[in-house]
């Protein structure tokens, strides 16, 4: 029983990170009908920003200064000082990735706005490969070890020794941050003018511009928000599994895409739902079955959902009037 609970916890934590990436995919698809394959690479860049930021902090003993500020002693690490440091790094990564997302949209996608959709798709793949291989050149292709900010914190245990469930503070933080960011995004989309503009543009691009909505700016804002979330996901995954390398973005990016399709691409709640389902399913499969096919599960789900219900679990089937 404890095993099952542990798998669920692992799955939810993993699902949270998929959700942050999937949200970017789903928003961009909703607005531009484009599957932004370069999104996985934005996630990777976020992880690297976090890596260099963590290294800088550790090398310049800034983490000790934070400890001093929060706990009154330079060498006393605590949950709150670790969280504060992590939040700083995440914010930095989010800002950097928002900028990167803006640049990608401006330089690679906007010039092709009026071209056939397939051109955009191919460009997206091109941007993805560009980032992967220049990343290898810039950062070196050997995996780098993330300094562990949460290292000295003991996991919380529930239950007695034999059936203990171990909850790491880090996993709780990741899950909590993911949920917080999703709630913030939800608020923006449904309760602000920008959000209304985004929904309008995704409903009908030309009509929205006729109504006076600055579509270019709205699209740029969408890209920036999605990329910021991916950047946050990158940092959080790198903190959990402290190995960063330039090719780390392709598989999680594809899996998050599958999760977005599962939930209904274009639908924000669907992306979140699909991601948690995928995360938990993967954890259960590798725990009770064999971990070798874990990666294949996401793609099997993709094929199944496209065969059975192509609009996704929460997607609404929209007939296109020709």
């Amino acid at each position: 029983m404890a095993e099952f609970a542990q798998y669920i916890i692992n799955g939810l934590s993993q699902g949270g990170t998929y959700a942050l990436i999937a949200l970017g995919y789903t928003m961009v698809f909703g607005i531009l009908q484009l599957i932004n394959f370069a999104h996985g690479e934005v996630y990777m860049l976020g992880a690297f920003v976090g890596y260099y930021a963590s290294k800088y902090i550790v090398n310049h003993q800034l983490n000790e200064r934070i400890n001093l500020l929060v706990n009154g002693a330079a060498d006393q690490a605590s949950t709150s000082s670790a969280i504060l440091t992590a939040i700083l790094i995440i914010l930095l990564a989010m800002v950097t990735c928002a900028l990167i997302g803006f640049l990608i949209e401006r330089l690679a996608y906007r010039p092709l706005r009026s071209s056939p959709r397939i051109n955009l798709l191919i460009t997206a793949v091109g941007v993805s490969l560009f980032f992967q291989y220049s990343g290898q050149l810039l950062f070196g292709s050997d995996p780098k070890a993330y300094p562990d900010l949460f290292e000295n914190l003991e996991p919380w245990t529930f239950g007695s020794d034999d059936n203990a469930i171990f909850l790491e503070p880090l996993k709780v933080f990741v899950f909590g941050t993911a949920i917080t960011l999703m709630l913030i995004l939800r608020h923006v989309i449904f309760h602000t003018r920008l959000g209304r503009a985004m929904r309008a543009v995704s409903f009908n691009h030309d009509l929205a511009s006729l109504m006076g909505i600055p579509t270019d700016r709205v699209i740029a804002a969408t890209f920036m928000m999605g990329s910021a979330l991916a950047g946050a996901a990158g940092v959080m995954v790198a903190m959990t599994y402290p190995k960063v390398e330039p090719l780390m973005g392709s598989l999680p990016g594809l899996k998050a895409f599958c999760a977005a399709v599962l939930g209904g691409i274009g639908n924000v709640t669907g992306a979140v739902l699909g991601s948690f389902i995928l995360g938990v399913a993967e954890a259960l499969l590798s725990g009770y079955g064999t971990p070798t096919y874990k990666d294949a599960l996401a793609f099997a789900i993709l094929i199944l959902i496209l065969l059975i219900k192509p609009s996704g679990l929460l997607g609404v089937h929209r007939t296109e009037k020709v």
Partner: protein, 374 residues
């Protein structure tokens, strides 16, 4: 028009410059994983080989000719190792190939070396299948049937472990082979393998496998993988509350292991080819020279690379004209060659019969625990 013709002539002349008709060097090829998840293996091995060749060239080379080392980086991928070997034997026309460390990549290279009749010496591939590919393939290290039994004996006799879990890498021939041999030995000595879990190299999340292992309460966990994954596994195991000892093989040998795994590796033990704390003069002088050249302490891969190069050089010296066939025959005859990691004798299966050392990991240091003779 003139400029075009002139440049064509220039280019042709430059390409002819590659012909080794007037070359005064003996070309030795090397294939290693200088980048990728096992980057430290490739870099250390390369430095060991380079050091040996530099020292030999300082003594005048072999048969009056200098040795030239041509290295190819396979990025940790078997396909690239095969392509690299093809390039070395067909384009660069090397007389011998040194490589690789990882058995999966050696297995990709060996058929090509064998087909082109170029002798290949692997410094540290321990899977027995490598040298069975053909009579031009050799190795200067021990093989996994021995290594598996070393750790099995250590687990049952020293750690007094009765129940062991195995966590192995399905993408690595080394990991699969070593875990099979470990299991065989451990079960024969009366132990029980309580559960076997798998992962793929490149994975970062091992929580599901470790949760399932934790449920079976093993006394020790055997993780015969490569250091990048082992470091992550150790971290995640300790975070799940697993206090059992972690056991492994020579794939753990890297300074990056501690960088990735940190304190979680305490109560970890692995078998290796050499220990830098070995006080024998051969080891200490090698450590000193390596430190002077590369500003760091050599690991087992560097020592094995150095020894593989030494064996090759010694074989070349005993030939008449350093042709690939003669080198091959000379390597096969190597007996009692005093190298850094011990006395190397190449047996009829083209493997070396050597002792293993067991190292304990404590606070970032690899401490020498014991030597096991074959």
């Amino acid at each position: 028009m003139f400029l075009r013709n002139f440049s064509i002539v220039l280019i042709l002349a430059a390409s002819f410059g590659h012909s080794s008709a007037f070359a005064d060097t003996i070309k030795i090829g090397e294939v290693g994983s200088m980048t990728g998840s096992e980057a430290t293996f490739g870099i250390s091995t390369h430095e060991g080989i380079e050091l040996a060749i530099k020292e030999q060239n300082a003594k005048g080379g072999v048969k009056g000719k200098k040795l030239e080392l041509i290295s190819v980086d396979n990025q940790g991928k078997p396909e690239e190792a095969a392509i690299g070997t093809t390039k070395l034997v067909t384009q660069d026309k090397v007389v011998a190939v040194l490589g690789e460390v990882a058995s999966s990549r050696s297995l990709a290279m060996a058929p090509i070396a064998q087909k082109n009749k170029i002798p290949m010496i692997s410094p540290s591939s321990t899977n027995p299948k490598v040298t069975t590919i053909g009579d031009y393939i050799f190795r200067v290290c021990f093989i996994d049937p021995f290594q598996g039994s070393v750790m099995a004996k250590f687990a049952s006799e020293t750690l007094k472990a009765k129940k062991v879990a195995v966590l192995r890498d399905v993408k690595s021939d080394y990991s699969l082979g070593l875990s099979d041999f470990f299991k065989e030995s451990f079960i024969k000595s009366g132990g029980e393998i309580v559960v076997e879990q798998t992962y793929s190299s490149g994975d970062v999340d091992f929580n599901s496998q470790l949760t399932s292992i934790r449920a079976k309460k093993p006394d020790a966990i055997f993780v015969p993988g490569y250091y990048t994954e082992v470091g992550l596994i150790a971290k995640q195991a300790r975070k799940l509350g697993i206090k059992a000892a972690l056991l492994g093989g020579d794939g753990w040998d890297s300074d990056k292991l501690y960088e990735i795994g940190g304190k979680s590796l305490n109560n970890g033990y692995f078998s290796n080819h050499y220990s830098k704390d070995d006080q024998s003069p051969a080891v200490q002088s090698f450590v000193k020279n390596y430190k002077a050249a590369y500003n760091k302490v050599p690991d087992g891969l560097a020592a094995m690379g150095y020894d593989a190069a030494l064996v090759l050089i010694s074989a070349m010296e005993s030939t008449k004209s350093a042709s690939p066939k003669e080198i091959r025959d000379a390597v096969a005859k190597i007996k009692d060659f005093q190298a850094v990691t011990g006395r190397i004798s190449i047996d009829e299966k083209r493997n070396a019969n050597k002792p293993a050392v067991i190292l304990e990991i404590k606070d970032g240091k690899f401490l020498y625990k014991s030597t096991v003779n074959p």
